[in-house]
C-alpha cells in the first residue's frame, strides 16, 4: 500500500471517525484505524464493536492495499504537521511509514484481517430525509437520555418511524423529551428502535444543518446513516422502550406562560444557591407571578421573582433545576407554556412556536 494525501484532508477524515475509538479497550485492534486503499479511493474505518464509522475519499492511489495503524497516534501526528503539507503513507515490513517533508514516523501495524467488523446488516427498510431534520430532532431530545441506568433501554434514544412522521423520545425517568418531524418517507407500518447513547452522540457530531439528503437504513439490529462521504452504523439496544404516551400528561389545570429566556435566566440565577448535589428548586405560582426559591446546605438562600401569565390557584412545586434549564435550552422560541396539575405530578413544558416538541419533568419533594 502506498499513497499521498493532503494533511488537512487526512486530518479531517480522522477527526470524523476518531469518536468510535475507545481510549481503553481489551482488543488491540480496536485502538487502530483500518486503512483500505483501492485504485481510486481510500477508506478509513473505526469501531468499538457497537458503532462503526467509515469515511471514503476519492483519490488516486499509487499502490492498493489495506492495513490497520494506531488511530490516535496517527491523528496526533496529522495534527502536529504543518497545515498545507502532503503526507505519504506506505508499508514497509510490519511497520507503516508516515512521511511529510523531513519528518518521518514508523507506526506499529496489525493486519487488516484482524480488524473486527460489525455483523452483516439485513436491510429492513430505508428512507431519505434532510440532514437537518435528523440533527434537529436529536438536538432537541438527546440531552434527556439516561446514563448508565440499570434500565438499559433508557440509555439511548428511541426513534419511531411511521408514515410521514419521524419521532424521537429520550427519558431517564426523571424527565422526558419528545420531538416529532414530518418526513416524506413512505413506511407502511410503525418501526421503533433504540439507538445507544454513544451512537447518538457520535451521529449528531457528523450531521450539519443543511437540506442535503441522507439515507437512513433500519436493519433488525442496526441503524445505518449514509452521508455524503461517511457511513455511520450502530447496533440497537434490544429492549422495549416504555410507553411514552402514558407519561406525557394532558394540559393540567394550572397553565402558566412566560417569556422563555426570562424564565431560563431566572432559573439559572436561582440555581446558584441550590443544593449542588440534588439541585432542588422551589417554584411558587401566584397570580401572574412566579417565585423561585433555592437553598443550600450552608443555609444560603436565593429568591427570584418574575412576571408571567398565570391565573388560578397558587401552587408550590419542587424541581431539579437542571432538568428545567436543559429543556428551556434546546430552543430559541420566545415563549414557553408550563402546565401543572399538583405538586406531586409531572409538569408539561411546550412551546407555542414549536408545536412538535414536548418536555415532561417530574417534581422533587423538597
Amino acid at each position: 500500500m502506498k499513497f499521498k494525501i493532503q494533511r488537512d484532508e487526512l486530518l479531517n477524515a480522522l477527526q470524523q471517525i476518531i469518536g468510535a475509538v475507545e481510549k481503553r479497550q481489551t482488543m488491540p485492534a480496536l485502538s487502530n484505524v483500518l486503512i483500505k486503499a483501492t485504485s481510486d479511493s481510500l477508506s478509513l474505518t473505526s469501531t468499538d464493536l457497537e458503532i462503526e464509522l467509515v469515511t471514503h475519499l476519492k483519490m488516486m492511489i499509487d499502490e492498493p492495499g489495506e492495513i490497520t495503524v494506531p488511530a490516535r497516534k496517527l491523528l496526533d501526528i496529522c495534527k502536529a504537521l504543518p497545515a498545507d503539507s502532503d503526507v505519504n503513507i506506505s508499508i514497509k515490513g510490519e511497520k507503516a511509514l508516515v512521511q511529510s517533508g523531513r519528518s518521518r514516523f514508523s507506526l506499529v501495524t496489525l493486519p487488516a484481517a484482524d480488524f473486527p467488523s460489525l455483523d452483516e446488516i439485513n436491510v429492513g427498510s430505508e428512507f431519505e430525509l434532510p440532514q437537518k431534520t435528523l440533527k434537529d430532532i436529536i438536538d432537541k431530545t438527546s440531552f434527556a437520555m439516561a446514563q448508565q441506568d440499570v434500565r438499559y433501554y433508557l440509555n439511548g434514544l428511541m426513534l419511531e418511524i411511521s408514515a410521514k412522521i419521524l419521532r424521537a423520545v429520550a427519558t431517564d425517568g426523571h424527565r422526558l423529551a419528545y420531538c416529532e418531524k414530518e418526513t416524506d418517507c413512505e413506511l407502511s407500518d410503525i418501526k421503533q428502535v433504540i439507538v445507544p447513547r454513544k451512537g447518538v452522540l457520535e451521529l449528531v457530531r457528523l450531521l450539519d444543518n443543511t437540506e442535503e439528503k441522507i439515507k437512513v437504513i433500519l436493519g433488525s439490529n442496526h441503524l445505518r446513516v449514509e452521508l455524503d462521504n461517511i457511513r455511520f452504523t450502530s447496533k440497537l439496544i434490544d429492549g422495549r422502550f416504555p410507553d411514552y404516551n402514558r407519561v406525557i400528561p394532558d394540559d393540567g389545570q394550572c397553565i402558566m406562560t412566560a417569556d422563555r429566556e426570562i424564565l431560563r435566566q431566572a432559573l439559572v440565577r436561582a440555581s446558584i444557591l441550590s443544593n449542588e448535589k440534588y439541585r432542588g428548586i422551589r417554584l411558587i405560582l401566584e397570580d401572574n407571578l412566579v417565585k423561585l426559591q433555592a437553598q443550600n446546605p450552608d443555609q444560603e438562600e436565593a429568591d427570584v421573582e418574575i412576571e408571567v401569565n398565570y391565573k388560578g390557584e397558587s401552587l408550590e412545586i419542587g424541581f431539579n433545576v437542571n432538568y428545567m434549564i436543559e429543556a428551556l435550552n434546546v430552543t430559541d422560541s420566545s415563549m414557553v407554556q408550563a402546565a401543572f396539575r399538583d405538586s406531586n405530578s409531572s409538569c408539561l413544558l411546550t412551546f407555542p412556536e414549536l408545536k412538535d416538541c414536548k418536555y415532561v419533568v417530574m417534581p422533587m419533594r423538597l
Binding site: G173, H174, V247, Y278, M364, R365
Partner: protein, 413 residues
C-alpha cells in the same frame, strides 16, 4: 507580642476519656477495680477492644489478640463489651459538656473537642472553663478524663496525650509553635506513615522543620489537607469544630463471620442480616439509596460488587434480592470470614419522583408495612419481627463503632 493571659483569641479543649469502656466496667463492677481488664466483643471475641490501665502496665493494648494478651498478663480479666451502656454513658457526658460549652464536636465515642472561645469570659479564663468541663465529666459519670487545652484542635489533642490518665495540660496558643518544634510530625493526629514518609523526603521530621517547606509543596500533593497540615505543625491548625453531624456519604453494616465459612445458607443468613440492618437504618433516617456495595472477605481479599437497583430504595428485601444475586455470581464457595453491605450515596426518601416507578398504592402499602415492622422492632428490640431466615442469625453481639455519635445517622450500634 503581649498576649492577654486571661482571654485567648481561640481556645479549644480536647476531652479524652481514659480507657473508656474498661473504666465504665470498673465503675459498674467494683470487683474489677485495680484489676487488669480487657474488653472483647462478647466472650467469644478474640481481640482486645480496649483495656484498663492496670492491663496496659503489662503491655496489653487495643487491637491485640486475646491469646497474646494472656501471655503478657496471665491474670487479665476478660469482659464482654456492653455497647449500649457505653453509648448511654457517652451521651450523658456529651450532654453535660454541652451544658457548659455548647460548641462541641463529638470526635469519637470517648473524645470530644470543645470550643471554649465564646465562653472563656463567662468562666473567667480558658483554664477555668476547661477545669469546669473536667469536673462535670467526673460528676456526671464518675469517670476520669484527660484534658488538653490550647488554641487549636491539633495542639489540644497533642496536649491531652502528654498526661494520661486524669491529666490536665495547657499549652497557651502563643507557646504552641515552640512546644511542637521538636515533636515528630507523625505524633500529630492526622499525619500517618504515608504523609510522614512524604515529609521526611523533604527533610521534615519534626514539626519545627515545617516552616522551611513552602506550603505550595504540600498543597500540590495533598490539596487542602496538605495546607492544613502545614499550619498544624506550626500550632495553628485552622480546622473549625464540626458541630453538625455531616450528611452520610454511606450507610453500611458488616460482620465478622466464623472463620472459613463455606455454607451457602450461613452466608445468605449473614447477608440478609446485614441487609435488614442497612434497610432499617436507612428507613430510620428517612434515607434511600440506589447503589449498594455487597462484599465477602475471603482469603483472596474482598469479592463482591456495587449493585445498582432499578430505583431508589430502602427496602431490606429488595437489597437482599439483588445482593443475593451478586453473591451467587461472585462467590465460588471459598471460605468467607467477613461480610459487608453498604448503601452508597444515600439521599432523602422520595425526593426526585420517577415517572416509571411502581404505582402509588403499592408504594404506600410497602411504606405502611415497613412502618409497622420498624415500630415493633423499635419497641421490643431489633429483629423482634424479621425474615424467618434470621432466626438462625449470628448471636455475636453488636459492636459500637469508633465513629459513633450521640445524634444523627451515626447513633447506631
Amino acid at each position: 507580642m503581649s498576649p492577654n493571659p486571661q482571654h485567648w483569641s481561640r481556645a479549644i479543649a480536647l476531652i479524652d476519656m481514659n480507657a473508656f469502656f474498661a473504666s465504665v466496667d470498673q465503675r459498674d463492677f467494683p470487683f474489677l477495680l485495680g484489676q487488669p481488664v480487657g474488653i472483647t466483643n462478647g466472650m467469644r471475641g478474640s481481640c482486645i477492644i480496649t483495656c484498663s490501665y492496670e492491663a496496659r502496665a503489662f503491655g496489653v493494648h487495643t487491637g491485640m489478640r486475646l491469646r497474646e494478651a494472656y501471655q503478657l498478663c496471665p491474670n487479665l480479666v476478660q469482659r464482654p463489651a456492653r455497647p449500649k451502656v457505653y453509648a448511654r454513658v457517652s451521651t450523658h457526658i456529651m450532654k453535660a459538656i454541652h451544658n457548659i460549652c455548647p460548641d462541641i464536636e463529638v470526635f469519637s465515642v470517648d473524645e470530644a473537642f470543645i470550643d471554649i472561645t465564646p465562653s472563656q469570659r463567662l468562666y473567667g479564663s480558658p483554664e477555668k472553663a476547661a477545669q469546669l468541663l473536667k469536673t462535670a465529666v467526673y460528676e456526671t459519670s464518675g469517670l476520669l478524663c484527660s484534658v488538653g487545652l490550647s488554641g487549636d484542635k491539633t495542639t489540644a489533642k497533642y496536649a491531652a496525650k502528654l498526661n494520661k490518665p486524669d491529666g490536665f495540660t495547657v499549652i497557651p496558643p502563643w507557646e504552641s509553635r515552640e512546644r511542637l518544634r521538636y515533636v515528630p510530625v507523625t505524633e500529630l493526629c492526622g499525619i500517618a506513615e504515608g504523609m510522614g514518609g512524604f515529609l521526611a523526603g523533604y527533610g521534615v521530621r519534626n514539626c519545627g522543620d515545617m516552616e522551611k517547606l513552602p506550603i505550595s509543596i504540600l498543597a500540590k500533593r495533598f490539596g487542602n489537607l496538605g495546607r492544613r497540615i502545614w499550619y498544624m505543625c506550626q500550632g495553628e491548625d485552622p480546622d473549625p469544630l464540626h458541630i453538625d453531624v455531616a450528611a452520610p456519604k454511606s450507610i453500611g453494616h458488616g460482620k465478622v463471620m466464623p472463620p472459613n465459612t463455606r455454607s451457602r445458607e450461613v452466608v445468605l443468613t449473614y447477608l440478609q442480616h446485614m441487609c435488614c440492618k442497612v434497610g432499617a437504618r436507612l428507613r430510620k433516617h428517612e434515607l434511600e439509596a440506589r447503589t449498594f456495595w455487597v462484599g465477602l472477605h475471603t482469603k483472596f481479599g474482598w469479592t463482591g460488587e456495587k449493585i445498582r437497583l432499578p430505583l431508589m430504595s430502602n427496602d431490606s428485601r429488595k437489597i437482599f434480592q439483588h445482593g443475593k444475586r451478586a453473591i451467587e455470581f461472585h462467590w465460588k464457595g471459598e471460605g468467607v470470614h467477613q461480610i459487608q453491605v453498604t448503601a452508597l450515596d444515600p439521599q432523602p426518601v422520595a425526593m426526585q419522583l420517577d415517572m416509571f416507578a411502581s404505582n402509588p398504592e403499592q408504594q404506600l402499602q410497602e411504606k405502611m408495612l415497613h412502618k409497622a415492622m420498624d415500630s415493633i422492632n423499635q419497641r421490643y428490640g431489633e429483629f423482634t419481627l424479621s425474615p424467618a431466615r434470621l432466626l438462625n442469625r449470628s448471636d455475636m453481639p453488636n459492636v459500637i463503632a469508633p465513629a459513633w455519635k450521640p445524634e444523627g445517622h451515626r447513633q447506631t450500634i
